[in-house]
Subunit: 340 residues, 4 copies
């Protein structure tokens, strides 16, 4: 008996990734699709311009697309809505009692809404009532990679400040997103709003929740974002300083030991290792994602800059761990503890 | 009456750029070409696999290619030799009385050899004797952009530390350089030896010369280098802290006021403004170089991170200011002060 | 005393190329700019998102942008309008007495409107009255390369049929045009309407005008179009059969002898050789256009398939000879014979 | 009980694809690896610069690499050798009694060696003795796509002539293969020797074997090859004429009905449909292969040019059906009929 799930924003790039990852999912069954007025009334096959390689199941293509005005029957709602629409739609569904897991940025910084990476702060789900509505948000795609790679180090050595320079894939801008004219053979040293998101979200994810609101962790975060002509995979150059002394060996050990605690390790989308360090000199590269979806963050090129400071590179699959895949892992954990 | 010039390493990627930039040059006439044994004895047209768009002059194509064992007749020698060969060849020519301006890294860190960016330390040419041999080196291509963009700020506010994350064009690796397989749609977070070069060269360029050797400026430099699928133009993310207080307005002013001092401003390769700040939100981009060679460094996205620290982006044309163009500007200045 | 020129569709990709090519033009002075309602009332600098590398002159940036409802003062009007708007606007200006040289497809196949490539059928300008309005159209960008490369052969051997497979640059789709998502690392084997244009336009260009209407030449043309991840330069694979016997040597000779006849050879945009054959095995390549605008078509890889049939490759700069540059050459010729 | 298999040329690009496709294969177990002298004596993990995304099994990485001088113990030998080495090595192993399935071009046109695409001429395996050595070759990667897409049409309407213009992925050139400098943002209208291979191999594959030698089918084939900046997937523009009348509907039907006959349909690498027609206007595109290996050829854009002539596009995965995958399918069929 699978759990029914609804999907908002089903025709967009993130919506398509949700559909791809939910194909044959052992826990969830996608039963309702919602999109903009333009798509409502059509079948999904008619409404979507499919952009991923393997096409969706015929059963999904046959599903009708509903307007976001309508209420899903399923308690579980994934939101892949664009930020221009997500805000009030998600709020309304929460007030109607749905568990909404959203990839949109709109409510991330609301005082009582968690930004969740299950391996880091998944236990916040324990505060959600199985009978009430609730909103859980994904982090920004770059934040996801940054937070996962830093969390085991933060736990061990207490993170004080971090500066990241990102090189982000164009799929992160959705479809149609960037014009070929702008990005082919080029780098664009700016992504609107992205730096602010990273700078605000990481302290919140590493912060504390007192039952009513979040107090961000006292970590100084600065980010400088760039768009590169890569399809999938955000590469981050990370410079971090810690309160406690460390050795490079211990850092590699913290990454290697970092595991989702039982029983969450066995969830369908749970990676064996959330962070995988690659010792090869020229890794990690986005080409690691050429043929696969991955929920793990890959790190490499670890160096000590001083006694308190390191730098390293981190690679995160922006549409998987940075979007649909992380939301799915949240839902799987919610299902396991009886919230669905 | 133009000055004769010889070119070592004429068939490689940097050699070709020298030939392109010397075409119709008002001061210099390329009269002798040198390359590896494999090319020696052929005409240049036979020996070269030309990789730039406009082909060389027929007169250049007809020139014979000599082995680097032979001595040029011209006093002025440009070296575009590969580091695997440059060391002893350049030393020998200096001992034979030539003025060698080299793009190779081999002698850059020699205690008595300057790394020259004319607008910064071109006055070191005044110590060269018009009757003796001398070696002047170009900086590494990324260092060139970093040093030019920081020098006017260093002069005004005293640079203490700098961290740069680079996104470098594949033309910097020469020809054939990178395999398409490795870099198309990808980023490689490593360039062998590049970080060390940047970290060592910048303090030397900003340092002092006591007539015998160089004392590096006390600046902490760290670099993290990446290769991106861009043809020409290295983009640098720069984070810098200063001893003296600054304002963003003053920084933009220092960049705008930075000029080559007279009479060097009128040299053929001298840019009107060595540093050009672009206030547009998403600039500078490597595509600025799609149709032109440029000796200027473009900066943008200037932000204050703290009272002592800023970050910004800088773009340098790696094969022009980062290689052949900078060497040419050195030679032009040497000609002006009677060294040739 | 330069001739005033107006430009319709000034903010689009083709409009920008017109502005780039008209910079410092010896015959024409761009005095009036027209664009859509959205841009009207702004200065050009405010209205445009400039996409070419060197920015326009400050004098051009300061020009006001007018709505296309208004009538230009200049007799000479370049139209870079989108096909969705060009039709009635161009007709109205012709009826008001303007000489309109258009890159839009709308009127190309009108029975009394020439599709002009000056080296082929520029003498049609002699039928234009200096006191009346007239419309002259550019061919489609691929047709331009196909027609130029085939015309000298047609003149000598009488073309019977041609089949072309095109590999077209994404700049041909305008801005924003193609999404990076669709074209990076990919080929799209379809361009809407393009094959029909090529198939109809070539016979018309090679056809006859009886003073009232055009009779197409009896040539069978088939085309199969593809979009490739190239910025500028359409590469065409051409297979052509002729009525008269030929030799490969004679074909290369016809290309080499093909010249604009005097006095048109000295027009500012006139290429020395409209067709340049490159004997190198792996040429022509779009990278020939990396650093330059070119009005010449480059051919290569000439082979005989049978006694009557050849195949070869042809490369045309789609935004220069295939758009703004060809229109400019038409206008230069019109000026020379006193139509302006 | 799996069948042991040896692999020659294990470290190259095609060799790596063999290893990827043999991972977990139900019939074969890769037990011996052979490569050049340079790699011999190392473990595979030490010898290889792995270029595909998922790394090989640790068990494969631990295998020793032997020199090609040595004889494999396994009867079944896959050859991914470079053409510079393959000729005599393969001949020797055949004379020693091995069944060699080769991707190298060296022996393809030998009078008694079949070029095999199992769905077309797999029955030639019935002439191989289970006790003797034999050599079976793969077609060239473009030929594979051309032959598969044309075979069902040839069977129904008798192919007379075909002209193909190819747009080929750079992975077809092996590793390192093309320099980024040459192919990024470019098309190269030439692939050395490729056109000849296509022109010779297709008639042989469609020809007859009299027990001693092959007589090519009387089909005129011409090819014009281009390299495009695509990682995987050769796209072919095909123009074909037939002896018998056809309709487009019948052609689509022939493609749809084309199946591997029983019992070969159930072989592990056998595609359900060797040719899949996609009716969408802008298909097939190489991006179809972004996330998957495919043994099917995709066709699209079918048009009639005349009563006897059609054109269409065909897409083949060059390293799968065009190389390792086709060889694997041959071996699976050989195993089924008891040759191994």
């Amino acid at each position: 008996m699978k759990i029914d799930a609804a999907l908002l924003g089903a025709t967009g790039a993130v919506g398509q990734k949700f559909i791809q990852l939910l194909r044959g999912h052992p826990l969830f069954r996608l039963t309702e699709l919602f999109a903009s007025e333009r798509s409502a009334g059509k079948s999904y096959g008619e409404a979507v311009t499919w952009k991923l390689s393997a096409p969706p199941d015929p059963a999904i293509e046959a599903l009708p697309v509903f307007s976001c005005d309508q209420e899903p029957r399923a308690r579980l709602v994934f939101s892949a809505l664009d930020a221009s629409a997500a805000g009030p739609i998600e709020s309304r569904l929460v007030s109607l009692g749905h568990l909404v897991i959203s990839n949109a940025r709109n409510h991330r910084m609301d005082s009582d809404v968690p930004i969740m990476i299950p391996e880091i702060n998944g236990s916040l789900l324990n505060k959600v009532s199985p009978n009430k509505g609730a909103l859980i948000t994904n982090p920004n795609c770059s934040t996801a990679g940054l937070a996962l790679s830093l969390f085991p180090l933060h736990r061990a050595f207490i993170l004080q400040s971090v500066h990241t320079v990102t090189m982000q894939a164009f799929s992160g801008a959705g479809y149609p997103g960037l014009s070929a004219w702008d990005i082919v053979g080029n780098v664009i040293p700016f992504i609107d709003g992205e730096e602010e998101k990273i700078e605000q979200e990481l302290p919140k994810i590493f912060g504390r929740y007192n039952g009513k609101s979040f107090r961000p962790a006292p970590i100084s975060v600065t980010a400088s974002c760039n768009r590169v002509p890569v399809r999938e995979g955000h590469l981050l150059d990370v410079r971090a300083s810690f309160e406690k002394p460390f050795t490079l060996e211990k850092i590699r050990e913290e990454w290697a030991l970092f595991r989702s605690e039982a029983p969450y390790l066995t969830l369908p989308s749970s990676p064996g290792s959330p962070v995988i360090y690659i010792p090869t000199a020229d890794m990690p590269q986005p080409s690691l994602f050429h043929e696969k979806n991955s929920m793990s963050v890959y790190t490499g090129r670890l160096k000590a800059l001083s006694e308190k400071e390191i730098c390293f590179k981190a690679l995160v699959h922006n549409t998987v761990r940075g979007a649909a895949g992380n939301a799915l892992l949240i839902a799987e954990r919610a299902a396991l503890i009886g919230l669905l």
